[in-house]
C-alpha cells in the first residue's frame, strides 16, 4: 500500500494512493459539500460522475478548480477547501442549477428531505441572478412512481442504481445540453418499460424528480367514511425504520409506538403483515417440503431450486427476464397479498362486514407493493384485496400531519387475530430472513424433531450473494440468498448454466432486503443505517416467545376454522398466484 502525503487547509494528511481529495478531507474532519456524488459503502456502490461541481476545491498550481469527489490526491498536493474563489464557484454552480429548477419547495413531496434544498440552505442562496427559460419535460405517472424531470438535476444516481446495481437498465440519460433528462428507452412511461418498481432510484434521487405515488389522501378519505371498516397491516421492516423520521437513532424499534399511532389515526383494526408472513411460511414451506420430498424420492420432473416469491420487485424482474422459468418460483403470494385475501374473507366474515365495506391499507417499506396491490389477479369482482399501500415515509408524514407526538406515545399491542405473529415473521424484513423462517418450520415438519437452536447464523449477513447448507437431520439442504436484483441475476444465471445447485433460493430486490426498501426513510448516502435496521429486526425476533411460524396460535386457528391445511384448495385459491410472461407481452408504444 503506497501512502501519499498532502496538505489540506494547512493541515497535513496521509492517505492511500488512489484516495480522492474528498475522502482525504473527510479524514481531517472537513466535510466538503457534494450533490451528485454518492457512496453506499455497505453495498460497494460509489457513484462519482464528477458532474455537478458543487464539491470543487482549489489545488495549488492548477488553473481550474478541481471536483474533490473525483480528483485523486497526489504527493505534495496543496488543497484549499474554502477560499473565496471556491465558495463563489460553489454558489454560482448552485445558482445555475436552481435557475433551471421549479421554485416548488413549498408543495414538493421531497421538501424537508431534499439534498438540493439542504444545499441551498447551507450555502445561503437568497436570490438567483440568472433568469431565463427553464427546461420542461412531460411528467410520468406510473402506479408506483412519479417522474417529474423538471426537478431532475442530472446527478444520474438513479441510473447507477437501476443499471449497475439492479441491472434492470430502464433509465438512461438522453439528449444533450438543455434538453438532457433521464428517461426509459424511447421516452416511454415507466409503465411501458421493464421497470420493476423496486424504487431504488427513488431512494437515491436527491430531489423531487423521483417520488412514490402518494396514497395518503385515499387513506384519509377511507378513515373519514363511517361506512367503512378500515384495517391496517404493517410490514416487518417498517418498525425498524419509522423512528428515524422522528429523529430516533437508526435501528430503534418502534413497534409499540407505531401501533399506538395507527390507532390514534383512526384505523379500526391495527394488524400486522407479520401474521401473513407466518402464513406465507406455512404455504411456501409446505411447497418447499413437497418439492424436496419428491426430489429426494427420485422424481425428475420436480422443479428445484424453489425461489421465494414474497418480493413483488423480484417477481416483476422475474416476469420480464426469466419467462422460461415461470414454474420455478413458489406460487405463494406475498405477505401483503395474503393478508388482504384473508382480511377480506375470513376476518370480514368473522366481524360480519361486507367485502365492499372493508378497506385494507398496508404500510410498506416498499414502492413495488403499490403496484402489486393493483394487479388484477389480486381482486375479486374489481374489489382489490389490498386497497392502498403507503410507504414508511408516507406514514411518517401522516403521523406528523395529525399532530401526534410520536416519541411520547406509549407502546401498544396489535389487535388479534391478524396481529399475532412469531419471530420468524419479523425477520422477513431483512435479507436471509425469509429463508431462515422457512428453514425453522420446514426442519421441524420434515424431521418431526424440535429445533434446538432456531438461529441459523449461516444464513445471515450482508454480502449480496450468499450460500449455506442446512442440515435437515442428515440431508444437506443447499440454500442460496441474494439481495439486489443484479445479485439475483448472477445467482439465477449461475443456476441456469448449471454452475451452482441449490434446493431453495431467497431473493429480495432491495439492498439488505425490505429494510433497504424504496419506501423507507431516506438514508442520504449513509448505508450503515441498513445494518442498524437489520440488527433491530433480529432483536425483535429474539425477544419473541414464539419464533416458528407453525407455532402461531392464530395461524393454527385459521387453518382449523377456515383453510383446512396448507396447500388445500381453499388455501390455493386465496393464498397462491401465478406469473405472467411480461417480456413477450411487452408492447411497443411510441
Amino acid at each position: 500500500m503506497e501512502l501519499i502525503k498532502l496538505t489540506i487547509d494547512n493541515r497535513t494528511v496521509e492517505v492511500e494512493k488512489g484516495t480522492t481529495i474528498f475522502h482525504a478531507a473527510k479524514k481531517l474532519g472537513i466535510e466538503i459539500p457534494t450533490l451528485c456524488y454518492m457512496n453506499l459503502k455497505d453495498l460497494n456502490i460509489e457513484h462519482k460522475p464528477g458532474g455537478c461541481r458543487i464539491c470543487v476545491v482549489e489545488v495549488e498550481g492548477r488553473r481550474n478548480l478541481a471536483p474533490s469527489c473525483a480528483t485523486e490526491c497526489m504527493e505534495g498536493m496543496v488543497v484549499k477547501t474554502h477560499t473565496v474563489r471556491v465558495l463563489n464557484a460553489r454558489r454560482t454552480v448552485l445558482e445555475l442549477i436552481i435557475s433551471d429548477h421549479p421554485f416548488d419547495c413549498l408543495i414538493c413531496a421531497k421538501s424537508g428531505n431534499c439534498d438540493l434544498q439542504s444545499l441551498a440552505i447551507k450555502l445561503g442562496v437568497r436570490d438567483i441572478p440568472f433568469q431565463g427559460e427553464k427546461s420542461t419535460y412531460k411528467p410520468d405517472f406510473s402506479p408506483a412512481i412519479i417522474r417529474d424531470m423538471d426537478k431532475c438535476i442530472m446527478c444520474r444516481r438513479c441510473e447507477t442504481m437501476c443499471n449497475d446495481f439492479q441491472t434492470v437498465g430502464v433509465l438512461s440519460g438522453i439528449n444533450r445540453g438543455f434538453e438532457a433528462v433521464v428517461a426509459p428507452a424511447f421516452e416511454r412511461d415507466l409503465d411501458h418499460s421493464e421497470c420493476t418498481y423496486c424504487g431504488q432510484c427513488v431512494a437515491v434521487c436527491p430531489t423531487g424528480a423521483l417520488t412514490e405515488v402518494d396514497h395518503t389522501k385515499n387513506v384519509i378519505a377511507a378513515l373519514s367514511d363511517s361506512k367503512k371498516t378500515v384495517v391496517v397491516q404493517t410490514a416487518p421492516a417498517v418498525r425498524a425504520a419509522l423512528g428515524e423520521e422522528f429523529g430516533l437513532e437508526a435501528g430503534t424499534l418502534v413497534t409499540g409506538k407505531m401501533v399506538a399511532a395507527l390507532r390514534q389515526l383512526g384505523f379500526d383494526y391495527v394488524f400486522d403483515t407479520d401474521f401473513a408472513a407466518d402464513l406465507t411460511i406455512m404455504e411456501e414451506g409446505t411447497e418447499l417440503l413437497d418439492r424436496l420430498t419428491r426430489h429426494l424420492g427420485g422424481d425428475k420432473e420436480v422443479k428445484l431450486p424453489i425461489l421465494t416469491s414474497c418480493c413483488p420487485g423480484w417477481v416483476n424482474f422475474f416476469e420480464y427476464n426469466y419467462p422460461d422459468m415461470m414454474d420455478v418460483p413458489s406460487t405463494a403470494r406475498s405477505p401483503q397479498q395474503m393478508f388482504g385475501a384473508i382480511a377480506k374473507t375470513y376476518f370480514a366474515e368473522k366481524i360480519n362486514v361486507k367485502r365492499e365495506d372493508m378497506v385494507v391499507v398496508s404500510i410498506m417499506p416498499c414502492v413495488a407493493k403499490k403496484y402489486e396491490c393493483t394487479r388484477e389477479e389480486f381482486a375479486t369482482d374489481g374489489n382489490p384485496d389490498v386497497d392502498f399501500s403507503i410507504s414508511t415515509r408516507e406514514l411518517a408524514h401522516f403521523i406528523k400531519s395529525a399532530n401526534i407526538n410520536f416519541n411520547a406515545l406509549p407502546d401498544e399491542d396489535f389487535d388479534k387475530p391478524l396481529g399475532e405473529s412469531t419471530g420468524a415473521a419479523v425477520i422477513f424484513g431483512t435479507t436471509g430472513g425469509v429463508i431462515e423462517a422457512a428453514a425453522r418450520t420446514a426442519y421441524e415438519l420434515h424431521t418431526g424433531k424440535t429445533l434446538e437452536k432456531v438461529d441459523f447464523e449461516a444464513l445471515r449477513g450482508f454480502d449480496g450473494i450468499r450460500s449455506a447448507s442446512v442440515d435437515f437431520d442428515g440431508v444437506d439442504i443447499k440454500i442460496g440468498i441474494a439481495h439486489g436484483l443484479g445479485n439475483a441475476r448472477k445467482m439465477l444465471d449461475d443456476v441456469k448454466a448449471g454452475r451452482s445447485e441449490f434446493h431453495a433460493i431467497e431473493i429480495m430486490a432491495c439492498p439488505g432486503g425490505c429494510i433497504g426498501g424504496g419506501g423507507q426513510p431516506l438514508h442520504h448516502g449513509d448505508s450503515s443505517v441498513l445494518r442498524a435496521r437489520a440488527k433491530a429486526i433480529y432483536s425483535e425476533d429474539e425477544s419473541k416467545v414464539l419464533r416458528k411460524s407453525h407455532e402461531n396460535p392464530s395461524i393454527i386457528k385459521l387453518y382449523e376454522e377456515y383453510l383446512g391445511k396448507p396447500g388445500s384448495e381453499k388455501a390455493h385459491h386465496l393464498l397462491h398466484t401465478h406469473y405472467f410472461d411480461k417480456k413477450s407481452k411487452q408492447v411497443l408504444l411510441d
Binding site: 443499471n163 434492470v168 437498465g169 430502464v170 433509465l171 438512461s172 440519460g173 438522453i174 439528449n175 444533450r176 428517461a183 426509459p184 428507452a185 424511447f186 421516452e187 418499460s193 411497443l588 411510441d590
Partner: protein
C-alpha cells in the same frame, strides 16, 4: 425524439446480428455498431435499437441515450437526398446559419425532418474538417463549398430533374 415505426424483416435482423458480431458483440463498440446500422438502414428506428441492445447486451435505454446524444444519429428516415449543413465554428462564423435557414425556408421543414415527398431531409453536422471551404453543405456524398444563401436554390435545382 420523434420516430417512425418499422417492422424489421428477418433478413434485416440477421444483417444487424452480423454487424454486431463483426464487432465481437462488445458493449464498448455500441457507437460503431450504430454507425454501421445507420449506414444500412439510413436511420435508427426503435426496432433496430432493440436488436442492437440485445446483441451487445446493453440496456435499450442506453442505446437510445447514445442515439439521442449524438446529432449524427437519426430516428427518422432520411430523404433520398439528405442535406447536411456543417455548423462547426468555422462554417458558423461564415454564415452557415443563414444557409441553413434558407434550406429550411425553401423546403418548409425543420432540422431533423424529411420533406413529405421523402426527397430531402436536413441535418446539421459538427465540423467535417473542410474548414477551408466554409460554409460547407453536403447532399448525399457530394460536397458544396463556400455556399451562400443565394446558392441554396441552385443546389436544390440540381436534383430537380431526378423525379
Amino acid at each position: 425524439m420523434t420516430s417512425v415505426k418499422l417492422k424489421l424483416k428477418e433478413s434485416d435482423v440477421q444483417k444487424l446480428k452480423e454487424v454486431a458480431k463483426s464487432f465481437n458483440n462488445e458493449a464498448g463498440e455500441l457507437i460503431n455498431v450504430l454507425h454501421k446500422a445507420q449506414e444500412i438502414f439510413g436511420y435508427l428506428p426503435a426496432e433496430v435499437q432493440e436488436v442492437v441492445a440485445q446483441e451487445l447486451n446493453v440496456p435499450v435505454a442506453k442505446v437510445y441515450g447514445v442515439v439521442t446524444f449524438y446529432s449524427f444519429f437519426t430516428m427518422l428516415p432520411r430523404g433520398r437526398y439528405p442535406i447536411s449543413i456543417c455548423t462547426g465554428t468555422a462554417c458558423y462564423v461564415r454564415g452557415a446559419e443563414k444557409v441553413l435557414d434558407e434550406f429550411k425556408r425553401i423546403l418548409k421543414i425543420p432540422v431533423g425532418e424529411t420533406t413529405s415527398d421523402g426527397k430531402f431531409s436536413i441535418t446539421c453536422l459538427r465540423c467535417v474538417g473542410a474548414c477551408g471551404l466554409a460554409p460547407v453543405v453536403m447532399v448525399g456524398d457530394k460536397t458544396y463549398g463556400r455556399v451562400t444563401t443565394d446558392g441554396v436554390k441552385d443546389i436544390l435545382k440540381e436534383y430537380d430533374t431526378e423525379d
